[in-house]
Symmetry: C2
Subunit: 430 residues, 2 copies
């Protein structure tokens, strides 16, 4: 963990180093992924069967075995504990309500020249959702990726999830059921991405693929981009907590560790004007680590990437936060809304002393798929906008064309595009 | 030009081939571009001077010479013909008005659990605009790329444009002035993209880069993606014209050629239920080509990629159009709004017999930067949304956390993320 103070000489260099710190190195798997995609394109479902046997340590009897049946989904759902089922229902309902509220309205304008201009939103026809298997098979991630697509009106949501040794997490299936997933396939890795992008006999192609994955999945998404849309490739998670003196240091410490426990590359940063709180939080982190099941991961993240930054005041905290453009931001201060108004760049903000980021991971309603690694400067969290596209339209009659057409002719001729100019001039009687 | 008819056997195979037709091959320039980016990162402005001398055939005296001065912009503006100045003003005003109308509203919801949820839109801090030099230096493209950024509220818009032999197109400078560009640099190619993404002493880095360019520029954008946002890489342009019997064949022919004259890879497709119109348009295309300055390009595009598709009715025309998902779509029919309602996938639509696509290229108001190559299935034209990002936020007090916190604890524990669960449980007094 680094300790910085804006009052000390050398702060600017140390902070700049923190900003540029690379927390992740990605393996080069381009060639391996290209080969897998080529194999799926060439051999379709037969390739999926072979690749699943090779990578997921189970041999599907036939193509039909790749598809999870309705009965399997119902059985998985019936098996989960009532408390968890209630939690999933609460989460799904709240996520759906917030994403429905995001739905934009169409535009239609008639102007003084007599043209009508419009912009129409429409849902994608089909979306693919990748869900990692193994340790990162999170039901919350299924809800967060699929529900915005359903809220946007996407009629077909196909999910691929690897089933190591053939097994699937019942909670993941139960989440998929609640999120409106329409098809589930036991397929993982680059082969799943290839199948979703190009289609096989068993899996119809989709228009966009979302969801997290390992280096092979990320590279496969890069390679199919253009054929289909993809979401952004997420980097390791991060949180900035801005906290004043009035906080319980243990609360702040656990919030920092909740981010750190994701993986060793995660980053947790406390920014505070109170030196005593900074010290108390640092001690509380060490104390909490003693009883945390994922202490090895969280401790490594905290030691390698954690930081405590002492500032003169909250204005300085806001300025540093804007340079960090964090994925998650907790504002544990007296007037969190006033502080939020000074923040230009953050993926998601959590206001108040009773609003830990974990409520946003699960049940608050806004999405937990958020821009990482300072990309909140220009990128946004997942939303219904990821599953909608726009068509603009223009309607003109002869009078409207007479009003604005001559300008189009002049510009077309200036750009040397004679047919452009002529297409307008002809209709003006020229 | 291909002639297809839905009534003929073999149509499905021929149409499928049309859908999969690759109209462009891109040169592999990865290594050359990576070297240029590395040079700009290592040597900054000195690299920009060297690379400009090497690629643009002029030697800037010093770094200051790379920046276009206010006086140069004013001189360029003063030199353009009054008719063109009026056309630029009309275009800029209409584009600005349409893009301002797109601006979305923030969201704030209080729910029955006592939480307040919000989504706030904010403009990017700085945007880079690449403008190609030479034959494709289009003032309309400057307006279309920069005005949405200004309408979104972006305070800094830095433009890079190569100046072969040191010269710039006055119309491009005049367009930049009207579009709210705040800085103009005489720098082209991958070196311009590198400078915008990483910054040099003379050019501050931006957060997103937009604008068309050659293969080097496109590859440079790919390589800096992640560091900054980029727009999508545009492919060759295309139009689908749906026209009924009541049209003047010459109008339709010129509209098809207006697309074809862009470049040899462009694609123009007529879909009509009227065989006589199909024949007449095909003849009119040949006639128009005889007097078109860019006949060599337009003719090559028409022969290689053009198509006339005869359909039984407009319902069939809509269904084929949805599979083509064209960049531009003209609806030259009696009831264009009714037909538009059946179109799910198109970048921009032009309704009526007096609405050639060229009005949209220049003056109508909606953007002419649009998704190509069937990507309108999932992608949209440039808009204010490209220059905005969202921050979601959640506000909770103790009572609100008590209402939804237990579900977050249950899900955190189910996912094995103990610190997540603990961060909520602690505040519930657990």
């Amino acid at each position: 963990m680094k300790r910085l103070s804006t009052a000390e000489p050398g702060f600017e260099a140390a902070f700049a180093a923190l900003l540029e710190e690379a927390r992740e190195t990605t393996a080069r798997v381009d060639a391996a992924v290209a080969a897998i995609i080529a194999e799926v394109r060439a051999r379709g479902d037969a390739a999926l069967l072979d690749l699943t046997a090779r990578f997921d340590r189970w041999a599907p009897a036939d193509v039909a075995a790749l598809r999870v049946t309705e009965a399997e989904i119902e059985a998985a759902d019936a098996a989960i504990a009532p408390g968890l089922r209630a939690a999933l229902n609460l989460a799904a309902g709240r996520i759906e309500a917030f994403h429905r509220a995001q739905l934009p309205r169409d535009l239609e304008l008639r102007d003084e020249a007599g043209l009508t201009l419009g912009m129409r939103w429409g849902a994608l026809d089909a979306v693919g959702l990748y869900v990692p298997g193994g340790k990162a098979a999170y039901p919350s991630s299924v809800l967060m990726n699929a529900i915005p697509a359903r809220a946007a009106g996407v009629p077909r949501i196909a999910m691929c999830v690897p089933a190591p040794e053939g097994a699937l997490d019942p909670l993941v299936l139960a989440a998929a059921k609640r999120a409106g997933v329409t098809e589930i396939f036991r397929i993982g890795g680059a082969q799943a991405i290839a199948a979703l992008a190009w289609g096989t006999a068993a899996i119809a192609p989709v228009d966009r693929i979302v969801g997290p994955g390992n280096a092979y999945v990320a590279e496969a998404k890069r390679q199919v981009f253009g054929r289909v849309g993809i979401d952004s490739i997420a980097g390791p998670s991060e949180v900035v907590v801005i906290a004043d003196a009035a906080n319980d240091p243990r609360h702040v410490a656990v919030d920092l560790l909740a981010q750190a426990e994701h993986d060793e590359s995660a980053q947790s940063i406390l920014i505070t004007p109170d030196a005593a709180l900074a010290d108390a939080v640092a001690r509380a982190v060490e104390a909490e680590l003693r009883s945390l099941p994922r202490a090895a991961i969280a401790g490594e993240s905290w030691r390698r990437h954690g930081a405590v930054i002492l500032v003169r005041d909250l204005a300085e905290a806001a300025a540093l936060t804007n340079r960090l453009a964090p994925e998650h931001l907790q504002l544990m201060v007296e007037e969190p809304r006033g502080l939020l108004a000074r923040i230009r760049h953050a993926g998601a903000a959590f206001l108040g002393r009773f609003c830990p980021e974990a409520v946003g991971d699960y049940v608050a309603g806004p999405n937990h798929v958020l821009p990482t690694g300072r990309t909140a400067r220009f990128a946004s969290g997942l939303s219904v906008f990821d599953f909608l596209k726009r068509t603009t339209w223009v309607e003109a009659d002869a009078a409207a064309l007479a009003a604005i057409g001559p300008a189009a002719v002049a510009l077309g001729e200036a750009e040397g595009l004679t047919a452009h100019a002529r297409s307008v001039a002809l209709r003006l009687g020229g």
